[in-house]
């Protein structure tokens, strides 16, 4: 589907990533050091680079700056540092998105697709707008309207709704939500997702007892669907 370059010094991760991304139909090349990665990025002309920030020869954000000087290739940074400062630094240095270690291959692939879509331009802007019954979710402007009225959501509430809206009609597990929206490991009894769902319901003017859009499927997960479906 796309030509990708993985710059990652840990051989096990590199191998596993190459395999996982190839399984998903991408052509993947790789590099184990920053300098090899830079050379490969310039010569191999990949469509997207997955860059580990903790490289042995050069700090990943340094490589990112050097890469930005010569190429506009989209970059997704993979980092083990989840403090805000590191993430902001990476984005400032020119990263298009980031994933926190440990990430799932599916999560990385979803981000690759999103970044490639964005890089392709605004052609799919209309496709990005999701309408579910009276609900409209616009991931670009991060705006939600319900029956034409704007709904004020917190950033996490928006991310949660946008994730569910993109999969409208299908049941999404809480584990998936925690992993994809929060980038947190699932603990089996985590109530973070539930409390955010409660807030979403309240802001959308419904309750758990009388759901219209957000339906809990006991023991499985949650589904966003048009009323009556």
């Amino acid at each position: 589907m796309a030509r990708l370059l993985v710059v990652e010094d840990d051989e096990r991760i590199r191998t596993a990533l190459i395999r996982a991304l190839r399984d998903r139909g991408h052509a993947v090349s790789s590099a184990g050091t920053a300098l090899a990665g830079l050379r490969e990025a310039v010569e191999g002309r990949p469509e997207l680079v997955v860059l580990d920030l903790g490289l042995p020869d050069l700090d990943g954000s340094e490589l990112l700056r050097m890469l930005r000087a010569v190429s506009a290739v989209p970059v997704i940074v993979a980092t083990a540092r989840d403090d805000d400062q590191s993430v902001v630094q990476a984005l400032d240095a020119g990263a298009d998105d980031y994933v926190l270690k440990p990430f799932a291959a599916g999560q990385l692939e979803a981000r690759i697709r999103a970044v490639l879509r964005r890089a392709a331009g605004g052609a799919d802007a209309a496709a990005a707008l999701v309408t579910v019954g009276p609900l409209t979710v616009d991931p670009r402007s991060r705006r939600v309207t319900h029956d034409g009225q704007p709904v004020e959501l917190s950033p996490k509430e928006f991310d949660l709704l946008a994730y569910l809206a993109a999969r409208a009609g299908t049941v999404v597990s809480k584990r998936e939500l925690l992993s994809e929206v929060w980038q947190l490991p699932y603990g089996g009894s985590d109530k973070t997702v539930d409390v955010h769902l409660s807030w979403l319901r309240r802001k959308l003017g419904e309750s758990a007892a009388e759901p219209r859009l957000l339906h809990t499927v006991r023991g499985v997960g949650v589904r966003l669907a048009e009323p009556g479906q």
Binding site: G54, A80, P102, G106, P185, G187, G188, K191, V195, A209
Partner: protein, 419 residues
């Protein structure tokens, strides 16, 4: 310090001034008196030959020109009659030698003069005003001089005190800023040598703290990298396994991941807090209770929140306290059936700090397991562990007790350190 120095200088200057001015004032008075008496004596000396040798009429004539300026001179003739105004001596025995007699209104000089026909007495009266002529003015000048000197000394002392205290005050401000977490604060060494040295030492200390914190930040980042990199590899490997094994192993990977997150978060606490962790326990707990209240409504749980109106400052970063309260409330929601009542409370502790309680009327927890802070499959222990670490980092502790029915978790949070 400034006040003390000024007071000290005022006291010493006053003592010195008094020690000089009082004798000077006394000297001025005696000099003036001596001068007036000398003048009077000199005038009397002029009369003595006349009284001794001349006739009565001639002496009377000579007396006329000598009185004046309040002074008066008179003579008691040998027969006891006064040639002029009668003197204070009256009819008393004539003194043998010259005498000075002090009275309330002035001083009288008595001078016996021997004549062939007996002893005549010259009496010169010098009024008090003449004895003290110019004394008051001199005293006023001296007092003015003293006050001027005292004011000058106070001014100089204040200047000196300010030059001493300003560097110390600057130093104190810097120390306070460092204490409240501003590690960029530096003192400008100034003032006396000792104070300059303290300033330099404080700067060096601040630099060292900054270095330690940044080293800790580095080591926390390094820890995150070292732990999460192999975990990523493990997770990617597990994902490629057949479905049945994948599900089972993924639970373990998630449990491991949560444990690692906790370790990293703990390692990062000092970096996160810097040197001045502080928040209002009431505000944070009330906000978190409000956040969870919607889920309580959805699950039919009565949620009661008790807190005082005023703030209770505690030595915990707001984010850490919020995470601890979230963990405790999340536990209650996860481990008690819907409909179970929840009570959240905050109240001040005697001696500072706050007591935060999260209680439920559910079936109760396995106290032994959670005391150890062990994380079971349901993560109960881990949630309590987060709260316990937060309480302990603030100088407090976590208490777990069984109520009938239910469980109560109490967090003792330490007060904000005040310098």
């Amino acid at each position: 310090m400034r006040r003390q120095i000024t007071l000290l200088v005022a006291a010493t200057t006053s003592v010195v001034l008094l020690a000089f001015l009082l004798p000077a004032a006394s000297l001025v008075a005696s000099v003036a008196e001596a001068r007036a008496l000398d003048t009077a004596r000199a005038q009397m000396q002029v009369l003595i030959p006349s009284v001794g040798l001349d006739e009565r009429d001639q002496v009377t004539a000579a007396l006329g020109g000598l009185s004046g300026g309040g002074r008066s001179v008179t003579v008691r003739w040998t027969d006891g009659a006064w040639l002029g105004t009668p003197g204070a001596l009256g009819d008393a025995e004539a003194p043998v030698t010259p005498e000075v007699r002090k009275g309330a209104d002035g001083t009288r000089l008595l001078q016996p003069v021997r004549r062939a026909d007996g002893t005549a007495v010259l009496e010169m009266f010098v009024p008090e005003a003449q004895l003290r002529a110019g004394v008051t003015r001199t005293w006023l000048v001296l007092a003015g001089l003293g006050i001027a000197l005292l004011l000058l000394a106070l001014l100089v002392a204040d200047r000196l005190a300010r030059s001493l205290t300003r560097p110390v005050t600057d130093l104190a401000i810097t120390a306070h800023r460092l204490g409240s977490g501003d590690l960029t604060a530096r003192a400008t060494p100034a003032g006396p040598v000792e104070v300059r040295e303290v300033g330099t030492a404080v700067n060096r200390l601040a630099g060292r703290i900054g270095e330690l914190l940044s080293a800790e930040r580095e080591s926390a980042a390094d820890l995150a990298h070292r732990l999460r990199t192999p975990l990523t590899a493990l997770r990617l490997d597990v994902e490629s396994l057949p479905a049945a094994e994948r599900e089972r192993l993924m639970d373990d990977v998630d449990a491991l991941n949560r444990g690692i997150d906790e370790v990293i978060s703990e390692a990062r606490r000092s970096v996160r807090e810097g040197m001045g962790a502080e928040c209002d326990a009431v505000e944070v707990v009330a906000a978190r209770a409000e956040f969870w209240s919607v889920l309580a409504v959805d699950e039919g749980r009565p949620l009661r929140v008790d807190h005082p109106d005023g703030p209770i400052p505690v030595r915990v970063a707001a984010a850490d306290l919020a995470a601890a309260v979230d963990a405790l409330l999340g536990n209650v929601f996860a481990h008690t059936p819907p409909g179970t009542a929840i009570r959240v409370g905050v109240r001040p502790r005697p001696g500072g700090g706050a007591e935060v309680t999260v209680a439920d009327s559910g079936p109760g927890l396995d106290a032994a397991a959670v005391e150890r802070g062990q994380s079971g499959g349901g993560s109960t222990g881990l949630g309590l562990d987060i709260a316990r670490r937060t309480a302990e980092a603030s100088g407090g502790k976590l208490l777990l007790s069984s109520t009938d029915p239910g469980t109560r978790v109490t967090l003792h949070l330490g007060p904000v350190a005040r310098s």
